[in-house]
């Protein structure tokens, strides 16, 4: 009797387990609607007054009835609030679409790749160079060119450099949602202390170096803060007429004189101690070093403004335009976009939302909050903060380039950072280090 019961019991267990295992593959994610819908009265009242946004007051596309789309992005509370407000504005013009905002503040890229493979990815989401690499060539992102044409949106509406990342084989897979570039961030009191003039927009890299030397010699503050970091090194290289890779990202250009001259320049600064790494002065990044008043100058971007407001609100700091190089003045741009899942149930609603988020009307509202710069060149004047203005100005320079060198971008970047690190360590000469970086870049860009 007992053994029979056991057999029946075990068979039941098998059946239950199999059913649950099978069920998992098909059940939809139980997405608890996190709509807290805290309507912002401030935003709501300002919107109708905007004369320029009359054209955008209708839904950009004819959307599916009763569409519900899920939208995900990273970001802290501030960023989440900005997108909650954006969703409210979108609802006002496309009332037929329900947007379920599901922010993923941490490990966004990892999570999204897993969701995409499992078929549970959001309909609309942030796209950076990593996700662009993973999704665009594998057909997971919707090409937006047709819907853009339908909505009357042109690629020319955006700052041209920004679309570099989101374009593959001539098709647009995401629209830039915001961007930043680097400015010469400085601590005025350090210049007063050393008795020298504050940075001006006419400065060259040599002027910067002279000032850093003087301040370092005084000893109260370190001169110029920069890690062995490809991103901070990029403006040096671009302004010297160089680049990290050729224009079709098939070969590195790291052993060219344009790159090596500037590597020598920063190495000399490092050796004469007018350049310090953040770790040398116990900061986790150079912005923190400014906030803690450890250093006089550094290169940072738009994120400085909010970070300083949050952590070091009593510190007075300023920004000057990125210094001029020997060939030109150029900066590096970082940008992220909004993309649409190729297998969304409601392609028109999802595309309408992506187009609205990155469109003039919404970007104009976001830029007013001081959170991010508009991706539309004609809205650059809407930037309120004086430091933001100085940083953003470099974004429109003709030789400014976006930090993107194809699918193997981060490997290339890693090679540059490591080369600088080896040179500063005294391990290798500039020639040796950048010859090695070039070899690594060649291997990486060839796709291993």
């Amino acid at each position: 009797m007992k053994s029979k019961m056991l057999v029946v019991f075990s068979c039941l267990m098998v059946a239950v387990l199999l059913l649950t295992a099978c069920g998992k593959a098909t059940t939809e994610p139980t997405s608890a609607p996190v709509e807290q819908a805290t309507a912002e009265p401030v935003e709501a009242t300002t919107e109708p007054v905007e004369a320029t946004e009359v054209a955008a007051s209708t839904c950009p596309l004819s959307v599916e009835d009763g569409a519900t789309i899920v939208f995900s992005g990273w970001g802290d509370q501030t960023e989440q609030q900005i997108y909650k407000d954006s969703i409210e504005r979108f609802k006002a013009i496309c009332p037929n679409v329900t947007v379920d905002y599901q922010p993923i503040p941490d490990k966004f890229q990892d999570k999204l790749k897993a969701q995409m493979a499992g078929g549970t990815a959001p309909d609309v989401f942030y796209v950076d160079d990593q996700l662009m690499t993973a999704f665009a060539s594998t057909g997971q992102l919707m090409a937006l060119d047709d819907v853009m044409a339908e909505a009357g949106v042109s690629r020319d509406d955006f700052i041209p450099a920004l679309l570099t990342i989101f374009t593959l084989d001539g098709k647009t897979y995401a629209l830039p949602k915001d961007w930043s570039t680097l400015g010469l961030v400085y601590l005025p009191e350090a210049f007063t202390d050393a008795g020298i003039a504050e940075p001006a927009d006419t400065w060259t890299w040599d002027d910067m170096r002279t000032a850093a030397k003087a301040i370092a010699a005084k000893g109260t503050y370190a001169g110029f803060c920069m890690g062995a970091d490809w991103a901070r090194f990029a403006p040096f290289v671009f302004s010297n007429g160089g680049d990290y890779a050729n224009s079709d990202f098939t070969a590195g250009t790291l052993d060219t004189p344009e790159v090596k001259e500037m590597a020598t320049f920063v190495t000399e600064m490092f050796n004469e101690k007018s350049l310090v790494r953040p770790a040398d002065i116990s900061a986790s990044w150079c912005g923190e070093a400014i906030g803690k008043k450890l250093v006089a100058m550094t290169l940072e971007g738009g994120w400085m403004v909010n970070s300083m407001k949050l952590d070091y609100s009593d510190v007075v700091w300023k920004t000057a335009l990125i210094p001029n190089g020997s060939k030109t003045r150029a900066d590096v741009i970082f940008t992220n976009g909004i993309g649409v899942n190729a297998s969304t149930k409601y392609p028109m609603a999802a595309a309408a939302f992506a187009i609205y988020l990155t469109g003039r009307a919404n970007q104009g509202e976001i830029v007013k909050t001081g959170f991010a710069y508009s991706t539309h060149p004609d809205q650059i004047d809407l930037i309120g903060n004086v430091n933001d203005k100085a940083i953003a100005e470099a974004g429109l320079l003709p030789d400014t380039k976006v930090a993107y060198w194809g699918p193997y971008t981060s490997k290339l970047e890693d090679s540059v950072s490591k080369a600088l690190e080896r040179v500063w360590l005294g391990d290798q000469t500039v020639d040796e280090a950048f010859a090695q970086a070039q070899a690594e870049a060649t291997t990486a860009l060839s796709g291993q």
Partner: protein, 412 residues
Amino acid sequence: MEHKNLKPGKSKSVAAGIMIFLVVVITIMLVAFMNAPTRGGAQVMASAQTYFAEVKQTALPFLVVVGLGAVILGVLAGITVYRVWPNQKKRNTLLTAYAFLTPYLLITCIFTIGVILFAFYISFTHYDIFTEPTWVGLNNYKLAFKGFTDSTQKDFVQSLHNVFWYTLLVVPIQTTLAIGMAVLLNTGVRLKNFFRTIFYAPSVTSSVVITLIFVWLYLKSGFVNNIMTNLLTPLGLNFQSVNWLGDPRGLFQLFGFTIKSSEWYLRGPSIAWMAIMVQNIFTTAPTFMIMFLAALQDINPVLYEAAAIDGANGWQQFTKITLPLLRPIILLVIVLGTIGTLQVFDQVYLATQGGPLGTSLTPVYLIYREAMGAQGPINMGYAASLAFILALIIFVFTFIQRRVLEHGTEQY
């Protein structure tokens, strides 16, 4: 009479055998079906039909191979049941045992064995988790070791080099430390429970928390540098603050050897890497201390008494009685320690991300990087091949350790 009774009994056995054969084969095939190496993505995962069509299109060879294995296993299971069936006692034992094992077996089949088979298959393919895996033969395995000849692709070779140093230094030190602490706590010192709690605290704390605390301690203006300066300066030594987690200088370079960057493998573990080792020893040693403590309680006190009467001093008692009797536990601790150190990941992920200059890159971190496509397109096939190489290395290490250490433990 006998003849008549046998026949229905036999047909019952045959039926049971066939039933078991079917259950085994169907279960395995279902598991294989759910783990089939297909394209991912929403189109495929939309419904059961789309997934089935996708499996039919891309994973038939995989299913055929697994099916062969399933048939063999099913036949074996069927024969076993057929033989056992006429004997009621044996039958009941067998069925009861497997009834209890079934839930575990199913979960293992689905989430371990199925996944391992899948990973083994894709380690021979190029697979970006969205498009069909394409067969590349042994290319992934070749690529892993290409670093020996091509210095631009040395990531995996460097990660192995790092992790060998890690194992070589961490395992002996943490084992010795654990034995030392256990023996101290076993001598009946006062406040024994207090010390036990204090020693054990790092092990129960999450390694994430400890790593974050150590990141602060290791800052250039952090506690470690502060202590070193205050201790060494009075002794007349000039101590320069070190950026512990960011310093790629190797151990042998610190002794004044000049080693070229291209000969990185001669430099020994970097300062950053050794800083992580210290932290790992701090967290893991107490866990093993508890094991040794338990083993020490098992040693018969009569042995010590007899030894004392024979005139053995404390050290002799320790080396001649305690250590030999701890040998099985020492083996266990060393094996567990080796496996743990070869798989080190969280400290690296949180503290250094493989830097500086790749001196803290470990195989598991590299597997994560390749599998998640953190530096370029997702390369799940390459990541899977690295995982199998690492598993093989761990297997070989464990095997050797068992051979060397287990030899002779039986006599006690």
